[in-house]
Amino acid sequence: MAGGGACCGRGGGGSEDSIIWAKSPSQPSTSFAFGLCLVLTSNKIKKRHPKSRSLLAARLGSELKETMEQEEGEARMHKVEFDPSEIEYVSYGGEHHLPLIMNLVDQELSEPYSIFTYRYFVYLWPHLSFLAFHKGKCVGTVVCKMGEHRSTFRGYIAMLVVIKPYRGRGIATELVTRSIKVMMESGCEEVTLEAEVTNKGALALYGRLGFIRAKRLFRYYLNGVDAFRLKLLFPCPEIHPSLSMMADKVESHGHHDHIAPEECPEHHHIS
């Protein structure tokens, strides 16, 4: 992960460990059956190692690989037949989506994230996460963030999962594309992520979208594999008055939920 601003040890939590209680929608895989997740937040992990953010990122990254790697080599026996039009893409809509995302990522990857990892992304940037449904079943998700990083406003793709029977049909590409579009419209200058150098599927997907391999990170992942930092640079917006006016028009059409109910009577019943 690029890891946003400064380490949160400053002013936040200090040197004490704090205990937090949070109720999560029940997850089948949890060992805490009473739906409560006992969590100890420790700043120690940061203190012990100044690069802990990159280690956390490294850990996250090593999990990402499994989403795409299995496309190669795995028997395509359990593929589900569907027409692309049957896939419904939805922006993150609230707490009810959180367990779907968590289950998907937990299911496909070898190790679970703490619930706070998910919350960090979907609470702060709900408009950047998308889910793909097929006949009511959640089959894929993308989770992202964006923010200021060394004087560039940049988007970051944290997680991308499509369940095995639905792979190879462009769902991942569609999820990522939607998220990137929102980033672009929100003023991001670039988008970035890391991927294992062996993850051919991911590298091909992002390559087709215009990402370049900006850097190679030696032994980035805990299993010793290198990573590429992939980056997509958006073209500089033209400083042309008529074009920027057009852009404004496009934006206002795209955000129906911001229009006051009285102007759009047909949207009165937005939940």
Binding site: G9, G11, G12, G13, I20, W21, A22, K23, S24, S31, F32, A33, F34, G35, L38, V39, L40, T41, S42, N43, K46, R48, H49, S52, L55, L56, A58, R59, E95, L98, E111, S114, F116, R119, Y120, Y123, T177, M184, V197, R208, L209, G210, I212, R213, A214, K215, R216, L217, F218, R219, Y220, L222, G224, D226, F228, K231, L232, L233, F234, P235
Partner: protein
């Protein structure tokens, strides 16, 4: 509710059985499960109870207690090292049966070798070598001479290796290596570890002699107790132990010799390296004997095992160090197999041998060529650290040549200029630092190296501007000492040109490393070769200028006297080094044009995507070069201009590949003493030939899928 109680009950049974922590004088345990329960019922989905300072970003580091994937304490079998020892996890002696004891100690030696190789390959010392309980409490082993001396030398070796790598000051990607907190790496008297080892070696030698002697002579020999009780196996075990002990001895000596400053110990080191390799061969050979072991049956499937015998060694527990291990989520490290470990050490020793064979060339050009060549074999951290501490010592090259002297020599200035006062100026002090920094960077792993090379381009540009300013000032001033001023002007002019040459060299390395690291996709090759071409033009220009103003005669390599006249005539035109660069330039230009023509004529190798254009990708790839104006007036439009008219039909006529082949052939004789250069020339010829043929085929047949390997 009942369901919850039942689940709570199972929860407490699933928790590992530990001695319960007693209530203290001022403390008492209270069950707050009902309170938690009630609080839980009150919370709505997604609601959280948290402190004021709670922050979602920080919370991502949260650990779920008792989750074995995050809570490193939960995975251990033992609470502490003492508990493990009490439980008999590391008995001394390893067995009361001497034969099994010997077998076991060989297994420990093998596993330690595997751990060491795993550590070198990028894991923490705590989870590899120091997963050995015997090492963690070395004093316990003092009654067992073999185990004790072996552990001592391991500890001393690890300390020596950590020292070298720390001195080279490695960086983020490789910093797990030198983490040693909490580990007992310092031992009293470890410097004498070899004397312990020698004593043990001596004893085993005598035991070996004793068991090999014909029975009639046995009484004549000293009354020595055999190593173990099974006479049939005595020879095998003695030999197996001896080669392992000797390997450690010679390896320790190698490291000690290589640490001597200015490469003074290199000759000795090479001897020890040769011995190490011989002992490793013996170690490998011993595997067959050990596999059969005491039972006489061969243990199958030792692939992936960490010991020659295939047995699991006793006395290791990686979880004991979880508190002093690297602060990563707890994951079991996969220790390299014993075979892979031996292979690792063979390679390491070969890499160290290359360093020890290096002639300590005082010319910077020679150093750079050596380092680039050395890096081609992809040496690991330990070898690279040794190279770096050799090259840069006390701010001098090899600890011998002051950097300013190196710079004046590289700039083709006369030797006496190395004492000039101008070296004390701010500019030259900084330039010296840049050169030292560059040498260090060139010793790092390719991925990190490329990033750093890109970053320092800016610094080299800045120093150039500063030197230019200094030159203008010098030229403008009128000094009382006319000779001195003229010299400083000359120095500045030469150094300025050399700085530019060096900058372009760095740029060319930056671009070339991108291929090695697989950073370019096929649709980007065209722009990369183009940029490489424009950089090489500049590099050749600056190199040529340096050669032209050089005071030294052009060295002729491997010339026979009768040919010398012919060669002089040829060489007086262009120096072979320049021609060598021209080969590369022809290839680069040829490849650029061919790829451009393929795109223009056949629409292949293009990349259309919804979010950006080729221009953005150009800007990204060459951002650091563009920022430093390397070269000047180069931009995406100039790339488009150069390539938009490329056509297969015209390319066949102006065949750059043929030029490359021709030049390569011409200069082969100039490099007849340089096997590496000759090998490279041969590769250039091959590449040129393949591409030339491909070009012909494509232009005739219009095939869509040529092989475009560099």
């Amino acid at each position: 509710m009942a369901e919850r109680d039942a689940e709570e009950a199972t929860m407490s049974h699933q928790a590992p059985e530990r001695s319960s922590i007693p209530s203290g004088d001022n403390t008492v345990w209270a069950d707050i499960s009902p309170l938690l329960d009630a609080a839980c019922k009150e919370l709505g989905d997604g609601e959280m109870i948290h402190g004021e300072n709670f922050n979602l970003f920080a919370a991502m580091s949260a650990l779920e207690i008792m989750d074995p994937k995050m809570d490193s304490g939960i995975v251990s079998k033992y609470c502490s090292l003492d508990e493990a020892i009490e439980d008999g996890a590391a008995p001394v002696p390893l067995s009361h049966d001497k034969t099994i004891d010997v077998q076991s100690i060989i297994d420990i030696m093998d596993h330690l070798l595997a751990c060491e190789a795993t550590w070198h390959s990028g894991h923490s010392l705590a989870q590899t070598v120091f997963s050995c309980i015997y090492l963690l409490r070395l004093d316990r082993t003092s009654s067992h001479a073999i185990l004790h001396s072996y552990c001592r030398v391991i500890r001393a070796t690890c300390k020596a290796v950590v020292s070298v790598v720390s001195d080279a000051r490695t960086h983020e990607e490789e910093d797990l290596f030198s983490m040693t907190y909490g580990l007992p790496l310092d031992g009293d008297g470890d410097e004498k570890c070899l004397s312990f080892l020698n004593a043990v070696e001596e004893t085993i030698c005598r035991q070996l002699r004793a068991c090999k002697a014909p029975s009639s002579k046995k009484r004549v020999l000293e009354d020595i107790e055999p190593l173990q009780h099974n006479l049939d196996l005595e020879e095998g075990f003695c030999k197996a132990l001896l080669c392992r002990l000797r390997f450690r001895k010679h390896f320790f000596h190698t490291l000690a010799c290589m640490r001597r400053p200015q490469g003074r110990g290199f000759e000795m080191a090479r001897k020890h390296i040769a011995s190490c390799i011989l002992e490793l061969e013996s170690i490998l050979k011993s595997a067959e004997f050990l596999r059969f072991g005491v039972c006489g049956t061969c243990k199958d499937g030792i692939e992936g095992k960490t010991t020659a015998s295939g047995h699991t060694p006793i006395g290791f527990d990686a979880s004991l160090n979880s508190r002093s291990a690297a602060p990563t989520p707890p994951r079991a490290i996969k220790i390299l197999s014993w075979k892979r470990a031996v292979e690792y050490f063979v390679k390491l020793l070969h890499d160290l041998d290359v360093i020890c064979s290096y002639s300590l060339d005082p010319s910077l050009e020679g150093v750079l060529r050596f380092v680039v060549q050395f890096q081609k074999s992809k040496p690991d951290l330990v070898a690279r650290a040794h190279l770096q501490v050799l090259l840069v010592q006390d701010g001098k090259l090899y600890g011998r040549y002051p950097i300013f002297a190196v710079i004046t020599k590289a700039s083709a200035l006369p030797e006496f200029t190395k004492n000039h006062d101008i070296q004390k100026s701010e500019c030259f002090m900084q330039l010296g630092q840049l050169v030292i920094n560059m040498l260090k960077i060139l010793c790092t792993n390719a991925a990190w190296q490329r990033r750093k090379l890109g970053k320092i381009l800016q610094d080299w540009r800045v120093i150039y501007v500063q030197l230019e300013l200094a030159l203008r000032n010098e030229v403008g001033e009128v000094s009382s000492n006319m000779d001195d001023e003229k010299m400083s002007v000359k120095i500045l002019r030469h150094v300025l040109n050399w700085v530019e040459e060096q900058t372009y060299w760095i740029a060319s390395r930056f671009l070339m490393l991108g291929f090695e690291l697989d950073l370019y996709s096929p649709s980007e090759y065209c722009m990369v070769y183009w940029y490489l071409y424009v950089v090489l033009i500049k590099l050749a220009e600056k190199t040529h200028f340096r050669m032209a103003v050089s005071n030294e005669p052009i060295k002729r390599k491997g010339k026979k006297k009768k040919d010398s006249l012919k060669e002089v005539a040829k060489e007086s035109r262009v120096h072979p080094a320049i021609l060598f660069l021209q080969c590369h330039m022809c290839l680069a230009e040829g490849l650029t044009m061919m790829l451009a023509a393929l795109r223009n004529d056949l629409m292949v190798l293009q990349s259309q995507n919804p979010f950006n254009t080729e221009q953005e990708r150009f800007l990204q790839h060459f951002e650091l070069l563009q920022k430093a104006c390397i070269p000047d007036h180069i931009s995406y439009p100039s790339f488009k201009e150069s390539t938009s008219y490329a056509r297969l039909s015209t390319l066949v006529m102006y065949n750059y590949f043929k030029d490359a082949q021709r030049i390569a052939k011409e200069i082969k004789s100039s490099f007849s003493n340089d096997p590496e250069k000759l090998a490279e020339l041969r590769r250039i010829e091959q590449v040129a030939e393949h591409n030339g043929i491909a070009l012909n085929v494509i232009s005739r047949v219009g095939a869509l899928d040529p092989s475009l390997k560099v």
